[in-house]
Symmetry: C2
Subunit: 142 residues, 2 copies
DNA sequence: AATTATAGTTGACATTATCAATTACATTGC
DNA sequence: GCAATGTAATTGATAATGTCAACTATAATT
């Protein structure tokens, strides 16, 4: 069960979290996926924000970002503004209805976070995050 | 960056780990995916093992397990034996070539684990696993 | 014996992800 | 200034993972 040298506990957490995020997305009633929601949060936080910013933050292919962004534009949650420094690029901006969605996301997010960490101390949580960062850096440093 | 109340560090770890597992799978040169490899490990460890055992351990749909198992059978890595207690069900058994693969997997796995946790103490690692378990239980308990 | 439950399979489909090729613009070095 | 090279974004193709619903066959329950 508690195999010191196995990743099962992490795998199970990841899977449970994924399901949780899908349910979160459903609660928003706006037909978006978890990745769309992550992108909304990123655009809301980082201003100005380009597609490349999103791709590099998420460490994802630009192709995926383009498609996620397109859906968000179709749904009038974000808009593309010209990037004065680079005609190839655009600034992505949260619209009014996008802002309302981001507010909803924040509330639901807080609930999830609280549920997930309800019996953990601040120290345990930050320790968990510190170790997560170390491990991902170990994997990425190659 | 180090947002106390965000899951970004975990998300990044998950993504880095996923990439790592794909590379592991490629190293095996047997055209299997990370999930196939997880299933091989499960069948090897749990004897006897049925498809339902795998589904419940992975918390995955039976449909997915059926397909993963079928690929492994096609590649002669596991075989289906009759389950004497239930004619609907089968015992899944690692074949000879499957056993050789499992051995290779173990080696590559150990390398990954070492790389990922190289600057972590035993205590940190087990703390990480303890917290992971707690969080996934929190999410699953509903 | 009839009803209900379970093991496994199959088909359809959504989400996430990557790669390669392309277009348009930007930057660098001559 | 201009050629070469690099970068932002898009599009098409495709793979891996995951879920749901419907189904068959067998098991368990009443």
């Amino acid at each position: 069960m508690s195999d010191r040298k196995s990743l099962e506990s992490l795998f199970h957490l990841v899977h449970a979290l994924k399901r949780q995020l899908f349910e979160q997305a459903e609660q928003l009633n706006v037909n978006l996926t978890p990745m769309h929601i992550r992108v909304m949060k990123i655009i809301d936080r980082k201003k100005p924000c380009t597609a490349i910013d999103i791709a590099s933050f998420l460490r994802r292919d630009k192709a995926q970002v383009t498609r996620l962004v397109n859906t968000l534009i179709e749904k009038d949650l974000i808009s593309k503004e010209p990037n004065p420094n680079d005609k190839r690029s655009h600034y992505l901006c949260v619209t009014e209805s996008g802002t309302r969605l981001v507010d909803e996301i924040a509330k639901i997010d807080a609930n999830t976070m609280q549920m997930m960490t309800k019996n953990l101390s601040e120290e345990e949580l930050s320790e968990f995050q510190r170790i997560s960062s170390l491990m991902s850096k170990n994997l990425e440093a190659r």
